[in-house]
Assembly symmetry: C3
Homo-oligomer: 429 residues x 3
């Protein structure tokens, strides 16, 4: 593991305690920390804004929350773990019997030490989450509960970063900033995406990068509602970046068609680097690819993950923490996404500039003498690669495809493409 993984893990550790949700100051604080290294633009979408079939909800903020028993002992304290409160709980200050309290408690009998992650964004409902072992130990008697929260008109907050490239065509990266103190799902996504953005900022790139840090579902829909036309026009590949931080599997969830440049890149890289990767079906989707790949949106977006959401026992509990997510896990997630981006950057499609073959000799790419005696003989394979690249430079073939047709190493085609572009005989797109 290198320093990058460690730095990502440290960033995750800084972000971990913040109480994120789909709105609120936890999201703003998260974006504030990301802005220390990224020139994010922060957008606010007011509560009440209509977004397709949805409406941006009131903004939720919370200061403190606790349960005390009749002796005044604090049984559950939000300041210990922000998973203790059901997301979007309205304020409450009440005295309850244990039976009444039980109606508002959530725990997982099968995982007695885990605090579950529970939200109720669109229906007002307060509640506490706790380890089942602790819940079972609750004695009969009266309990005092207090949630000091607000649910009021405000806005939904997201961060956006556009990194212009040589081309107007875009690669799209989208990740979630709505999960409170959990690590794989989801601090791995924002910290790996931030690292990708930093890496992309460090060098020029062919494509423009559209990178967004959003709350899941309502955030992606709000973003689509504002940007769909330009996204449909420009995006050539996209990645929904989630669950990229543990040390277990690598996995891939395709786009709806399964045949986009993002799918090809993901499959090429994973087959080469992690041939034991898990290939999910589009039917197993569960994140914002539900929006990005919906009919009429149809963006070329895939997910490359480590352990996929819903497949590991710590998922959506307090056990999804910074021990589950590791520097090496994050580094692995970053590396595979970097390679996918490099693959896409390195594999544009091409157009020949001239009708017919160009005069290669004039450009120093063909011998000026044709001599069957062979004294000044041509490097035939090199010449053939040049001619084959030109023959397939019809806007529909990238280098791996041409290499496959010609049955030569990709590096040879890459080199031929480079020579032709240098000579002004080929343009990419």
């Amino acid at each position: 593991m290198n320093g990058g993984g460690k730095r990502m893990h440290e960033l995750a550790a800084r972000l971990f305690p913040l109480c994120r949700s789909i709105t609120g100051n936890g999201v703003r604080a998260t974006l504030g920390i990301l802005k220390e290294s990224l020139p994010l633009t922060v957008h606010e979408v007011p509560s009440g804004t209509r977004v397709f079939d949805w409406t941006v909800p009131p903004e939720w903020n919370i200061n403190s929350a606790w349960i005390r028993d009749s002796k005044g002992n604090t049984i559950v304290d939000f300041s210990n773990n922000n998973l203790h409160v059901v997301g979007y709980s309205p304020p409450v200050d009440a005295r309850l019997s244990l039976a009444e309290l039980q109606e508002h408690l959530h725990s997982i009998p099968e995982q007695p030490d885990a605090i579950p992650y529970v939200t109720s964004y669109y229906k007002e409902r307060w509640g506490f989450c706790m380890a089942h072992r602790a819940r079972k130990a609750l004695a009969d008697g009266a309990y005092q509960v207090r949630i000091d929260s607000t649910l009021a008109p405000g806005s939904l907050t997201y961060g956006e970063l556009i990194l212009p490239g040589k081309s107007e065509k875009e690669v799209f990266l989208s990740t979630y900033i709505c999960h409170p103190s959990m690590a794989n799902n989801e601090l791995s996504g924002p910290v790996v995406t931030a690292a990708l953005a930093n890496w992309l900022m460090s060098a020029p790139h062919r494509y423009t990068y559209r990178i967004i840090f959003i709350p899941e579902t309502i955030g992606s829909l709000a973003y689509l509602s504002k940007n769909l036309d330009v996204m449909k026009k420009n995006i050539i590949a996209g990645f929904n970046i989630t669950c990229v931080g543990d040390d277990c599997a690598y996995s891939y969830l395709p786009s709806r068609s399964g045949t986009t440049r993002a799918d090809y890149a993901a499959l090429r890289v994973l087959r080469a680097r992690h041939p034991d990767f898990i290939r999910y079906s589009f039917l197993e989707r569960g994140g914002d690819e539900r929006q990005y790949c919906s009919p009429g949106v149809d963006l070329p977006v895939v997910s490359i993950m480590r352990s996929k959401y819903g497949t590991y026992p710590e998922y959506h509990t307090s056990l999804d923490d910074l021990r589950l997510v590791t520097p090496s896990g994050l580094q692995g997630g970053l590396d595979v996404l970097k390679e996918c981006i490099e693959w896409i950057e390195n594999n544009p499609t091409y157009h020949a500039v001239h009708c017919g073959e160009p005069q290669l000799a004039k450009h120093g790419l063909y011998p000026t003498i044709v001599d069957s005696g062979g004294a000044l003989s041509v490097d035939i394979p090199l010449l053939q690669n040049l001619q084959n690249v030109l023959a397939y430079a019809d806007g529909a073939h990238d280098i791996p495809t041409i290499a496959e047709i010609c049955n030569v190493p990709e590096a040879d085609i890459q080199s031929a493409v480079a020579s032709l572009m240098e000579a002004g005989l080929l343009v990419d797109s």
Copy 2:
């Protein structure tokens, strides 16, 4: 066999004696009887009207016809069986020798008791048809022949019934009313089509039904020449209804492409209900699918039959009678066509109303709480069906196709579609 089959058979029995042809009062009388239960519009296309490469011929009517021997005995009498006269025979009143008469006689040596069905619509030619056994018994001598017919400018008559549905999209039903006293080919077509029309009139339906009762070939061409544009625009499936009345096989003749919604419906229903059905090739076509599937017309029309024209020994003879066609045979033909129509009615394609996923919780289709503890846990398969229907609601997928993609029972997808439509989140087409 239920009452429907019996009623169809009774209607066939009423229609049987009428002398139908491609024009004339027999057609009008037939449509008159059908109008007792169906609000048919009767159209008249004048003789001489150009119809693509064809011209509507003069109208033919016939009062009586007979052959008498030298002793005055009536050997052949049209009033006994209207197959006795070659269709479109001009009037004749002549005295002939047996040898001269033989030139105008038609019979089938291999079927000595059958009167053949012979027509000569487009070349004036008179003739008589008789059982070969009776023909062989003719004694030498003089014969008197009389055909009291008219061939004169008039019109071609057909019946049309448009049953508007919720959609402008149409299902097309076409059947023949040009055959004289024969039962499978063809009174089965009109009586089954009439029963289908009555059934369709008894309840609302999704699609508009375009139902026509026409003379074969010249009738379908005349109809196409007047209605082709709207038919090409609206028809999503069609059935050429012929030979649907005996108790033998079920059979299917595809459209030219073999991949229309009518083909899918026919195959699904026949495979389920009559897995031993005979699957003919488009090359074995012989009816108006020759017009409906011709280049430039290209309507999605198939035939579902019992014993196909040309394949049973009674075909085009007096043996194709009301003993060959039975109540249960007609009922079987009706049932399979009803199921095809139901299949099409029940299997539209869908469009999602909103961009991205709708807010299912708002519509009561998603839990308002997301709780990894599972106390209020979601019906995951149900939710997945809803999401998958939405993901494939792109106007190109019907329920069976979505069910196949998702590998779940069709009923589950049907139920998900129903929920989404009820919630206003999905429209069909």
Copy 3:
């Protein structure tokens, strides 16, 4: 072998001594001889004309050239073989040591008796080519070299013959006239093409024939630059005619897509006539198909050859002579190309004239009586062929394809097509 092969060989023998290059009087003299039997139009494209990425070079002409040793003996004489001088050598008159001379000599150590074919069109460079055996025998000492040539503004010359057919659609034939004294590559191309042109002129044909005699590469590009639009609009098949004169293999090099009418014709004919033909890949291309099949040009052009350029030891040497190329070899090349052309002529696609089926009886193609008794019974297979041709006359099916669908001999479909066209019911395209 018949007289045609002998006449082609004699024409090749007349053309053999001329010093052809990509420009110059050798090309004009060649076209002059071809004009004796063909009404060629000769076009001149001035030096300096821009042609896509290329520029038409100065015109090269040569009168004489020799090398003499110190005793005045002529060691190498252009008048013995025009391969002795590097094509496009500028004038030179110099006295050199053997070492200095060696810098300008070309030979093939592995083929000590062959004079190699060397050119330097686009970089000024003089040189001599000689048999390696003779080169090794050169004694030390002074040598006099003289090349009496001119390199000056002039023009590139090519011949064009348009043979109008019934259709505006074109078949394209292209061959090279830029090679000096060599026989398979390339006098076989022009003499076979001339024979094809004479044959085409001897009888009417469906398609228009566009036949060009051009210098390789710069000639095809110059021609494309003037005619691309009409070529793309009209050409339905094309053949690049080269290396069609020896007695060895038959071979085929496909178009880029491999699915054009030219490809189908070539494959059908070669499989039938020469099932042991060599099937090259488009990747093994080396002639003007590089221009004709380039992106944006995309003409349906293939090569049918005997021994392909680059695959036989005599290639591009003085051994590629009129013993390698034979009357029977040329005849074989001509025959296979003729058959391809006949195949294309005989296999147009069709459109039905009328919507729906025409009234076949009116056109004498259907009995006027329909009689199940069979006395005047129909030729059912014949009738079915007529109806099937009409059913597939949608502009996308040729006769072999319809025959394949109907599983009947092509001759039967051919005959049905002929009947329908005679009746004015079908048009080809």
